[in-house]
């Protein structure tokens, strides 16, 4: 398994769009899409939990090449909180109930479009990382908060 590549992100974006999957890039992969310079290993997707979205998601993942036989597909459709996939062309974490974010629809209202990629707002990315209480997130939060200040200033109305 190699590193996650831009073309694979494009495949997610385009395939999910065709299947009508409602999702957002979250975590450090989301921050990287917003411009945060750091390293990570895989992509985290915050997926809206509903049966119809789960069905669309399974169809899209199968088209991308993930091995999802019935028991696993059913788990995704029924909405486990967290699913880790390492059985496809790249690693993917599906997060249906991230720490620090109450509702998908709330995050969707705040989301940012980056060249067609739907990305959680930097505040939601920070809130979810802060809520995990994990050592690795604690270490990355100061720099992420600094990036938040930079990003907010750069994206103020009137700034280019």
């Amino acid at each position: 398994m190699g590193a996650f590549e831009y073309r694979q992100a494009e495949e997610i974006r385009d395939t999910f769009a065709r299947h009508g999957v409602r999702y957002l890039f979250l975590g450090k992969s989301g921050a990287i899409l917003l411009g945060f310079p750091d390293t990570t290993q895989d992509a985290d997707l915050f997926v809206q939990r509903s049966e119809s979205n789960g069905l669309a998601l399974v169809g899209a993942l199968r088209e991308l090449g993930f091995d999802l036989a019935e028991p696993r597909a059913d788990e995704i459709i029924s909405g486990k909180d967290f699913v880790q996939l390492k059985n496809g062309p790249f690693d993917l974490d599906l997060v249906f109930a991230p720490d620090g974010i109450e509702q998908f629809d709330d995050a969707w209202q705040r989301h940012v479009d980056v060249e067609g990629f739907p990305v959680c707002h930097i505040d939601d990315i920070i809130n979810s990382k802060a809520a995990t209480g994990r050592v690795k997130d604690r270490e990355s939060l100061p720099r992420l908060r600094s990036f938040r200040d930079y990003w907010m200033r750069k994206n103020q109305p009137g700034n280019c």
Partner: protein, 83 residues
């Protein structure tokens, strides 16, 4: 490179107006000048993570279950434990 994670940007001298070391601001500016595909190439790496990478599929009923599994099964140095 290490940074003081407990600093107060409102009171600490030597920090940029962005609320972090001035070098961070410079890194953000440099990243903003790169096209997205290049940012991806620099950002995504792959290294083997013991235990975590030893199964091709895992699912958890709750996020709390996932956090607990990480704490109980992954090596501490991966950083998935709680502080």
């Amino acid at each position: 490179m290490s940074h003081d994670i407990n600093h107060n940007p409102d009171t600490d001298a030597g920090w940029s107006e962005s609320g972090g070391p001035a070098e961070w601001w410079a890194e953000f500016e440099a990243a903003a000048r790169r096209e997205l595909p290049l940012r991806f190439r620099y950002a995504f790496i792959h290294t083997y993570k013991p235990v975590m990478d030893d199964a091709d599929y895992r699912s958890f009923d709750t996020t709390a279950d996932y956090r607990r599994w990480c704490e109980e099964n992954l090596p501490d140095w991966l950083g998935y434990g709680r502080f």
